[in-house]
Amino acid sequence: MLSELDSSAILLTLKLAGLTTFILLLIAPPLAWWLAHSQRIFRPLIEALVALPLILPPTVLGFYLLIAFSPDNPFGQFWLSLTGSQLAFSFSGLLIASIIYSLPFVVQPLQSAFANLQKEYLEVGAMLGFNGPERFYRVLLPMLLPSFIIAGGLGFAHTIGEFGVVLMIGGNIPGETQLVSIALFDHVESLEYGQAHLLSLLLLGFSMALLVVIYGLLQKRQRALQYA
C-alpha cells in the first residue's frame, strides 16, 4: 500500500516535528516571556523579527537559508568547522530551519498567554521559595498548560506541513531529508493522485488522532478544574 519511501518519510517527519517542537518548547517560553514583559525600547523590533520568517514565502526563506548554510558564508563555515559536516541537506539543517520557521507559532500563543498573566501568582511562587526556573515549571507551566499545549500543537502541526523551506534545504534525500510533505508534493506533482490521497489521509488521520487526544486531555483537565 504505502511505499517504503513514504513510510520512512513518515518516520522522519515525526522525528523532525517531535524534535523541533521539543526544542521550541525550551526556547520559546523565555523568549515569549521577554516579549510579553520587557520594557526595552528594542522589544518591538525583536518581536517583529520573530514574526519575520512568516513574511517571506517558505521557498524564498529556504533560498536565503541555503545561502546562509553554504560553506562560503560565515555561518555555514562556522558550522562546518564546529561539526565537520555540512548543514544543508542534512537532518541538522532541516532541524535548524524548522526551528526558525516554526518559532513564531510557538512563541506567539505563549506570549499571548504571558501578556495577560497576573504577576500575583509568580509572587506567590517566590514567597514559597521557588527561584526563577522553579517558578516556571512549578507555577507558570501548570497554570498555563492549555497555552503550552496550544503552542506546542501549533508548532508540531506546522512542522509537519512545512514544505517550502525543507524542500529547498533538504535536497529530498531519502531517509535523511525526505519528509512526508515532500513525498506528498511529489505525488501530487507527478499526478499520482491515488498515492497522494492515501498519504494525505494517513497524515491527516494520524495528526488528527494525536491532536484530538491531546486536546481531549486538555478539555478533561479543564473540566476537572471547573466542576470537580
Binding site: M168, G171, D186
Partner: protein, 225 residues
C-alpha cells in the same frame, strides 16, 4: 479587441517566454499574460478550470495528457523547445569534461527525476554512463533549485540546464561540460492549445510565432537545441 492571451508556462521557461512575448507584443500589438508554476501544478490547475489559453509544459507527458482530454485542442500539440543537460562544477580550475564527471565523488545535484524532465534525463544519462550508482544525490524539486544548490556552494557539482548556465554572467567555459544529447531521451518541452481559449486564432498566431525560425534561433542562443 485587445484581450490578452493567457499563457501558463513551466517555471523554467518563464524567463525566455517573457522576452519572446515582449517582442511579440511590440510586433503584433497583442498582449500576453504569463502565469508560471511547475508543470505539475499547471496541469492540476488546468484540469480544475484554470482560465488559460495556452499551456507550455516543461515535458511531453503533461501536454499529451491535456491534449487527449477534453481540455486541450486535439492536434494542437507542438514542441517549442528542447533542453540540454550540462555538467557544472563552478569551483573547478581545470576544464570540466567527461573524465571530471567520471572521477567525481561527493554529493551530486540533479533535479527530481519524478518531477522534472531534466531530472529524468539526468538519470537516463548517468545510467547510460554507468555512473548512476556512483554518487549520492541531492535532488531539487525542479531544475532551478538544482542550479541553486550548486550555485550557493552547498553542492560542488551536478547536472543542470544549459539554458540556466547561459544566464549566469560569471560563467566560464571551463566550468561545465555539455552532455551529448544521445545519452538521454530528448528533453522536449511541448505546448498545447487549450479548449477554453476564447480567441483560438489569436493564440494560434502566438504559437506560430513561438515556433517560427526567428524565435527558435533565439532559443538556440539561449541554450536550447
Amino acid at each position: 479587441d485587445f484581450a490578452p492571451i493567457k499563457v501558463a508556462v513551466a517555471s523554467n521557461f518563464r524567463n525566455s517566454l517573457t522576452e519572446i512575448a515582449a517582442n511579440y507584443t511590440v510586433q503584433s500589438g497583442q498582449k500576453v499574460l504569463i502565469s508560471s508554476a511547475s508543470s505539475g501544478t499547471l496541469y492540476n490547475q488546468i484540469r480544475h478550470g484554470a482560465p488559460f489559453d495556452l499551456f507550455l509544459s516543461a515535458d511531453q507527458k503533461r501536454a499529451q495528457l491535456i491534449e487527449q482530454s477534453a481540455l486541450g485542442v486535439k492536434g494542437s500539440r507542438f514542441t517549442y523547445a528542447q533542453g540540454q543537460l550540462a555538467f557544472w562544477v563552478p569551483r573547478q580550475q581545470a576544464k570540466v569534461d567527461l573524465t571530471t564527471l567520471k572521477q567525481y565523488s561527493g554529493r551530486f545535484a540533479i533535479a527530481n527525476p519524478r518531477l522534472a524532465p531534466y531530472g529524468l534525463a539526468a538519470e537516463q544519462a548517468l545510467k547510460a554512463l554507468h555512473l548512476w550508482r556512483q554518487f549520492s544525490y541531492v535532488q531539487g524539486a525542479n531544475i532551478s533549485q538544482t542550479y541553486q544548490f550548486i550555485e550557493s556552494g552547498n553542492v560542488e557539482a551536478g547536472l543542470v540546464a544549459y539554458a540556466q548556465l547561459l544566464q549566469n554572467p560569471l560563467l566560464k567555459a571551463e566550468q561545465y561540460y555539455l552532455l551529448p544529447a544521445h545519452l538521454h531521451q530528448p528533453i522536449v518541452q511541448q505546448g498545447v492549445l487549450l479548449a477554453a481559449a476564447k480567441q483560438p486564432e489569436k493564440v494560434q498566431q502566438f504559437i506560430d510565432y513561438l515556433i517560427s525560425a526567428e524565435v527558435q534561433a533565439l532559443l538556440r542562443e539561449k541554450g536550447y537545441l
